[in-house]
Amino acid sequence: MNCEETQSQLHPYSDGELDLMKSLELEHHLRECATCSQAHDDLTTLRKALRSDSLRFRPNPDFEARVKSALRREANGGRQWFSWTWLIPLFSAALLLIVFSGYLLTRSSGDDLVAREIVSSHVRSLMTPNHTIDVPSEDPHTVKPWFDGKLDFSPPVRDFTAQGFALIGGRLDYIANRPVAALIYERRKHPINVFIWPAAGGDTKAVAQVQQGYNVIHWTKSGMTFWAISDLNLAELQQLEGELEKQ
């Protein structure tokens, strides 16, 4: 083996990749050639240095823990996250939310629609000179029986003349797709319409709003829903509401 051959085989020889025959030939040459022997020594020195542990890059101490937890997530979480068992409560919750928000939406828009009907009915009742009163009477004992047979419920009828709200009479009306009772009160020439009909659900607190310049108050009590409307100021209308709620 000459120098050129030796140099070209030096690396596989050093790496233990040379077959036995060639290795022996090469070793023979190294014993005789100082230059090639030196080259071999240099290679050995370099390779020894390359195997030093301090040359290696070491991962951060917490890296293994991070990889482990990522694997755990993959093994457990990753699988279950997409499983159907997770989707069932998720789906039910979404469905519930849709139904509930739908209920809220229709309820509020329903209220809004009723408020408009209340206003229309109130305005219509004021258009005739002596208002539209079916039973003109300041006596609750006349007004209340008058509704019997005309409605499938008996509205609470009371006079509040002592409190400044005189009962003028009663009227049948048609609101929210059903016949309802309308009581007419008056305060310092301001007519007040109070619409009453049975309500599903529990009591609700009074909510005041302004519709087309009229004050409107709505509440539910003891299975009856009340809508009071007037051009009277809100504070006084609320006073009537307080009286009506006392019963």
């Binding site: 120098c3 140099q7 070209s8 690396h11 890059f57 890296f63 755990r72």
Partner: protein
């Protein structure tokens, strides 16, 4: 019965995966770190490689688990490198001109007689083109055979051999050059 199976299986799979593959974490990191030359990229690639390895663990039928993992690390690293086009993938050294210049070795000027400065050596490794760097790392630090490196990097054994020789020659050149400059 179905629930039992799906609950138990991942745990067993994870346990056997960890036992077989987790001991190679330091090899995987060192390899990725030398390939990518960046700590956070290396961590990302190794973690992603472990997740991939876990996913395909069923397809691993014995053999050298370290070489198998390093292959995944290599693929993941090259994917990242291809995304970061700023990095130089193509080497300045062309494999076709890889005829060993024997005069490099016989020149006494480049001979390393002194103790090798490890910082300088590490720097010299990092300056190698990636194709040469990775073959060197796999051989010297991971002690893989030419055949294993050839399989891992999809290279003929002759190319593994010549790249390794070139890489070492470059290191010797660089170290010798720097040492000479310092003197």
């Amino acid at each position: 019965m179905f629930t039992k199976r799906s609950q138990l299986e991942p745990k067993n799979k994870l346990a056997s995966f960890e036992a077989a593959i987790l001991p190679h974490l330091s090899s995987a990191y060192n390899y990725a770190r030398f390939l990518l030359q960046n700590e956070s990229d290396a961590e990302d690639v190794v973690q992603e490689s472990y997740l991939r390895a876990f996913k395909y663990f069923r397809g691993f039928h014995g053999g050298d688990s370290r070489a198998w993992l390093l292959t995944i690390v290599r693929n993941t690293s090259y994917n990242l490198l291809q995304q970061n086009r700023s990095r130089q993938l193509v080497d300045s050294i062309d494999d076709s001109t890889e005829v060993l210049d024997t005069s490099e070795y016989s020149n006494p000027e480049t001979v390393l007689r002194q103790r090798i400065d490890e910082d300088l050596l590490k720097q010299a490794i990092e300056e190698l083109p990636i194709n040469f760097r990775e073959v060197l790392i796999l051989r010297e630090m991971e002690e893989l055979s030419y055949k294993e490196i050839g399989t891992l990097c999809d290279l003929p054994i002759g190319t593994v051999m010549s790249r390794l020789a070139r890489a070492r020659a470059r290191l010797q050149d660089k170290l010798a050059g720097k040492i000479n400059q310092e003197i």
